[in-house]
Symmetry: C2
Subunit: 187 residues, 2 copies
């Protein structure tokens, strides 16, 4: 059985597709950092990894997080509590190594995608079937590349609403995924 305390989330800025299916590195978005940190903290996750190959962007992420851990902390303690579980890494492989070190064994990498695929696993099914550290991998831009997907051993079913339109923001998709995995659902 998966537990929130052994679950990490990674927000990947490279390798992802742009809208023309070109492989790019996307820019860090301040609000992604805050919203996903707050969602991760709400669902009790072990940590939130920001994955960016560009050193200046990693420094920016550290600086934003640092602000809320120091001068911003007095004003807004709930932001500090969310931000303190952020780690910034250059690659998904580096993120996996960091979790392996902290958890004592390598995490299962689980990808997420808006695309349908016959090989996907359901949310509650994944929680039931897997035990041990887990890294949920989210892509920015137009989604994780085939190369990034190939690093992951499992793939979550896409979120379907009541329509064929599935252009949730990565912030919204992350919130829904965590709620489907670990929320106090009535059903």
């Amino acid at each position: 059985m998966m537990t929130p305390g052994e679950t990490w989330i990674a927000l990947v800025h490279h390798p992802v597709y742009d809208k023309n299916r070109k492989i790019v590195a996307t820019a860090l978005t301040n609000l992604d950092l805050h919203d996903i940190a707050r969602s991760s903290r709400t669902y009790g996750l072990a940590g939130f990894l920001i994955v960016h190959p560009v050193a200046a962007q990693r420094e920016l992420a550290q600086r934003i997080a640092g602000h809320w851990l120091t001068e911003g902390a007095e004003m807004n303690d709930f932001r500090r509590m969310a931000i303190e579980r952020i780690s910034v890494v250059a690659t998904l492989e580096e993120g996996r190594a960091l979790i392996t070190e902290r958890a004592g064994k390598p995490p299962l990498l689980v990808s997420t995608s808006a695309q349908r695929d016959p090989q996907t696993v359901g949310y509650r099914a994944l929680v039931r079937e897997h035990t041990g550290p887990t890294l949920i991998v989210l892509g920015t831009g137009w989604g994780l590349t085939e190369e990034a997907l190939a690093l992951c051993q499992r793939r979550l079913a896409p979120i379907q609403g009541a329509s064929d339109y599935n252009h949730l923001s990565v912030r919204s998709a992350c919130a829904i995924i965590l709620d489907r995995l670990y929320g106090d659902r009535e059903d």
Copy 2:
């Protein structure tokens, strides 16, 4: 049975509390508009009402929406599809009147709050029990005031994660609420 096609969502900027429980009007946030429009469209809602008492802020909301309906539309058709269901109103009462006119009868107003309350209703229970137009009311800032809550006939159960920390952004909370009401849950 509630249906997405008869459901609206309102993002209320006044009356809401600030962190000192003072009643304020919050500033329009560009990303709230986009994220909630995209979530509303994904779950097939009838519309998304932006509620702001300040005329200049309502004009700004119209201008942001207008951009994506005209020059931005070619670049990004999925944004246009989300944005076109936005309406901008001054008060929650005005929003209710607008829905009454469009739906032919007044909507049930359903509030949302991070606070626990014995009078709340579950998500699937609400969908089962109510038939007809519905307006889900979200507060910005530190949440809807007592006065705003009193306008609503029902109140959804707060979202609980795996911890006592419940500081989701309004964008994330909205996504989770719509998924709990109308998502294709496996359970």
